[in-house]
């Protein structure tokens, strides 16, 4: 379909990377692919910063009395680790990098619906990020990423307002990105690309965008009210000022629980693409997998109260929230069963992206199943606020979302950069990440059951063995993350040139050259089949 052919170094055909040079061509670009790369560099920076804080925490916790820093400093470390990883890495990761890059390519469009708005989103994100980094340098913040009142609003004397403003600003970036994606997916699909021919990645991005646009404003309002009370002592959340101490938690979790699905749904979309390609199979139960994304997005708005079972909320409210939380488990289980069944009578090859995708299924299964302990009222009472929670959400967010992001980066890297990375190193890194991850976070399930509360700068000695295991695992995990960073950078210059469709995949994005030209397709693609037509009747394609 594409007229572009893979070129050789030196006289490469015109593409989005060599179309223009110089910093202006990047900072003023409205090309969704270049904006995706701006995001990629920014979120990688924040991932390294957040990972650095995590490393300091794990070193600190090797000793029961704390090996490294004062408790006040430790409190700032876990707060900034959470704030940066969630708002500046995980939330934008797959949507802003892979979503930005791939949505127009996958639906056969030239760009997103609002290219300038897209660039504005990145600038808003950067301004929010700078506010947060400023607060880290100017004394830090110690409230935990959850900013619970009245501690945050009236007791903490750290940079609460600066961080709240940073997160508030970044929220607008999410809202605008979500809006852009929704309009693009509705209005700009290529002729013949009906809803049920869309790749599941697009379904996942659509569901995520709904949460972006509906949930983020609530977070913005909440943080605004928090800043109002912190700065001007308007009584909203603090009982001493006439406020309600639990109101903040209701508002905060109304966004922040759906935010978990902002992080995991895109990863599910990525995994669907990868499994279909490397199993050469249509995703088993395509429609059900697509609709389960939407079901998760909708139900995700109704479960915030499960964060508050021990706050003294009505036991009947607890009952309802417990029931709804269990309901969310069902579409997630359905997805796992469908991915697994896709492998049945397939033709499976084990390149690096597939290893990440399979790792995702394993870790997400464990993360999802351990959610049942927390949805069940009687066991949640014991486990709430302990390391069990920490382990559970890291299985979802790191085992799930980060594995998905890395899988997606490995899958689409040839398309993004036009280069290949060394597959052996990539497979090794995937194995190291899987092992290191489990070593880090599995002991934390046991720590939580034993009763060790989270956010403890020092702890009773009987918890030490498990903490040391966790810290040892974290060092392995760190190495696992470092290796891809090195070979991705290496491959940009020295990697072998990638062909248009190195994996023999079916999506529209593989029908244009690697890297794609600025206008994505030299001629308007017309879609005549579904996204996963890896059929026996097909002609064998190159490589």
């Amino acid at each position: 379909m594409s007229t572009a052919t893979p070129g050789t170094r030196g006289n490469a055909p015109r593409n989005y990377l060599n179309a223009d040079y110089g910093w202006r061509s990047w900072l003023f670009t409205v090309d969704h692919k270049r904006i995706a790369l701006l995001y990629m560099v920014s979120i990688t920076f924040f991932f390294v910063v957040g990972g650095f804080f995590a490393m300091l925490m794990r070193i600190h916790l090797i000793e029961p009395q704390g090996a490294l820093v004062q408790p006040e400093t430790y409190n700032k470390l876990f707060t900034l680790h959470g704030v940066i990883m969630i708002f500046f890495f995980l939330v934008p990761s797959i949507p802003a990098v892979l979503g930005n890059f791939l949505i127009p390519l996958m639906i056969g469009a030239r760009d997103l619906a609002f290219p300038r708005l897209n660039l504005l989103s990145w600038y808003i994100y950067i301004v929010g990020g700078l506010f947060t980094l400023y607060s880290a340098i100017a004394g830090g913040v110690d409230t935990g990423w959850t900013f619970y009142t009245p501690y945050s609003s009236t007791y903490s004397n750290t940079q609460v307002t600066a961080v709240a403003v940073g997160v508030f600003i970044t929220g607008f970036s999410s809202i605008l990105t979500g809006l852009n994606f929704i309009v693009t997916i509705h209005k700009m699909r290529a002729p013949g690309l009906t809803w049920f021919r869309l790749p599941l990645f697009i379904w996942a991005m659509y569901a995520t965008s709904i949460i972006f646009t509906l949930g983020t404003p609530v977070l913005a309002i909440t943080l605004f009210l928090l800043a109002l009370e912190h700065l001007f002592h308007v009584g909203i959340f603090s009982p001493a000022l006439g406020g309600d101490p639990l109101l903040f938690q209701h508002l905060f979790w109304f966004y922040s629980h759906p935010a978990v699905y902002i992080m995991i749904l895109p990863a599910m979309g990525v995994v669907s693409e990868i499994i279909a390609c490397f199993a050469r199979k249509r995703i088993f139960g395509y429609k059900i997998v697509g609709f389960s994304s939407v079901a998760i997005a909708v139900l995700g708005f109704l479960v915030w109260g499960h964060h508050m079972f021990v706050t003294g909320q009505s036991i009947y409210a607890g009952l309802i929230f417990s029931l709804l939380s269990f309901l969310v488990a069902i579409p997630s289980a359905i997805k796992v069963f469908n991915w697994t069944s896709t492998l049945y009578k397939a033709s499976i090859s084990y390149e690096a992206p597939m290893l990440y995708a399979l790792g995702f299924i394993g870790l997400f299964t464990m993360g999802g199943l351990t959610g049942m302990f927390l949805a069940a009222l009687a066991t949640d009472v014991h486990l709430n606020g302990t390391y069990f929670i920490v382990a559970h959400f890291h299985y979802i967010m790191v085992g799930g979302a980060v594995m998905g992001y890395l899988g997606g980066m490995h899958f689409w890297w040839p398309k993004i950069s036009g280069r290949k990375y060394p597959n052996g190193w990539a497979a090794l890194a995937a194995a190291i990440v899987f092992v290191g991850f489990n070593l880090t976070f599995f002991p934390q399930f046991i720590l939580g059951y034993l009763g060790m509360p989270r956010r403890y700068a020092f702890y009773p000695a009987e918890f030490q063995v498990l903490n040391v295991m966790s810290s040892a695992g974290a060092s392995i995990l760190g190495v696992g993350y470092l290796i891809p960073l090195i070979y991705f950078i290496w491959s940009m210059r020295y990697g072998p040139i990638a062909e248009a469709n190195p994996w023999g995949a079916k999506g529209l994005e593989w029908q244009t050259s690697s890297p794609p030209p600025t206008e994505n397709f030299t001629q308007m693609p017309v879609v005549t089949e579904e996204a996963y037509a890896y059929g026996a009747e097909e002609e064998p394609s190159r490589g």
Binding site: S322, T340, G362, H382, Y459
Partner: protein
């Protein structure tokens, strides 16, 4: 370093039943994790790509399978939901006749006050085998009262009362953690729950240095703060008599009525204008900021003692 523990002490009447549910969910988790991993490994080997030209037959999906693997998880989560909820409901109401202790959290300590007047900090003495109900509040931020060995946890909130109960089944000293992040020394907000034989507990109570029960302290505060000037016991003052109020129905000027409980008494001391008793004028000043949380608890204890009608007091003595 100590060995590798994998289970917390079971030291309360509910610990065992919570653990049973915990083990059940663990079994389900293990079963499905192993199932999914095994199937994936089996398929990975059986259906590995043998030649680059391999084109497997497309499979659409299977409605019966989708129904099956929607129904099975639904049944399993329904079982866990019902089990977890019924256990939680059983565990949320203290049995009648539970003894009461009052707990105040503040950065970064736990203060406990026994009705007999004994006070302690970062320790909580309780008798073995008797249900104990804690009424808790915070002087500053949100804390959380967590005793892993008892499998109980409840947030301790500023400006309102929360409660939990337990019945210890083993003698010994158990960790009391704060499980809600509360500032710089959150990790140092550590206490011990000390379970002793009932007769030893009585002896410990008798060793009170203050020699004043909570009710007596409340009565003293009631006089010192001039409450007694308006709240005349015969009901002729500008404020209602507090005899027989606690635990009984109170009718308000807005036509509503309520049962007077700890939270209502507390609110009426701090925000008297919030709920006005029918037939009276909103003339009472607020005592916000003039009483500590412990003093308010003392006053509540005193007003509660006035609430018992003479017959009930007789019952109480038997």
């Amino acid at each position: 370093m100590q060995g590798l523990p994998i289970q917390p002490d079971q030291a309360s009447t509910i610990a065992r039943s919570v653990d049973h549910l915990y083990f059940f969910i663990t079994a389900i988790t293990l079963f499905f994790t192993i199932l999914i991993f095994s199937i994936i490994f089996y398929f990975m080997i059986k259906y590995r790509r043998r030649s680059p030209d391999e084109r497997p037959k497309p499979i659409e999906g299977s409605l019966p399978l989708e129904v099956l693997w929607t129904a099975i998880p639904t049944v399993i989560v329904a079982v866990i939901f019902v089990w977890g909820s019924s256990l939680y409901f059983q565990n949320s109401e203290p049995p009648p006749g539970a003894m009461e202790i009052f707990v105040t959290g503040k950065q970064w300590m736990w203060k406990a006050e026994h009705p007999e007047g004994q006070r302690e900090i970062n320790e909580l003495h309780v008798p073995l085998g008797r249900p104990v109900k804690l009424t808790m509040t915070s002087e500053d931020v949100i804390h959380d009262f967590f005793v892993p060995a008892f499998r109980v946890k409840k947030d301790v909130l500023p400006g309102r009362y929360t409660s939990l109960w337990f019945q210890a089944t083993r003698l010994g000293t158990f960790h009391l953690f704060c499980a809600q992040y509360c500032g710089a020394f959150h990790a140092g907000m550590l206490g011990s729950v000390i379970v002793v034989e009932p007769d030893q507990y009585e002896r410990w109570l008798a060793g009170s240095v203050l020699g004043e029960t909570m009710e007596a302290a409340g009565e003293r505060l009631f006089k010192e703060n001039a409450c007694v000037t308006c709240h005349l016991s015969d009901g002729t003052g500008p404020a209602p008599s507090l005899l027989g109020v606690y635990g009984n129905t109170v009718h308000l000027t807005n036509g509503q009525s309520l049962i007077a409980d700890d939270a209502y008494i507390r609110e009426s001391i701090l925000s008297p204008a919030a709920k006005i008793v029918n037939g009276y004028k909103p003339v009472m000043p607020s005592f916000q900021g003039q009483l500590t949380e412990e003093q308010i608890l003392d006053m509540v204890a005193y007003i509660r003692s006035l609430g018992k009608t003479p017959e009930k007091q007789e019952e109480g003595k038997q």
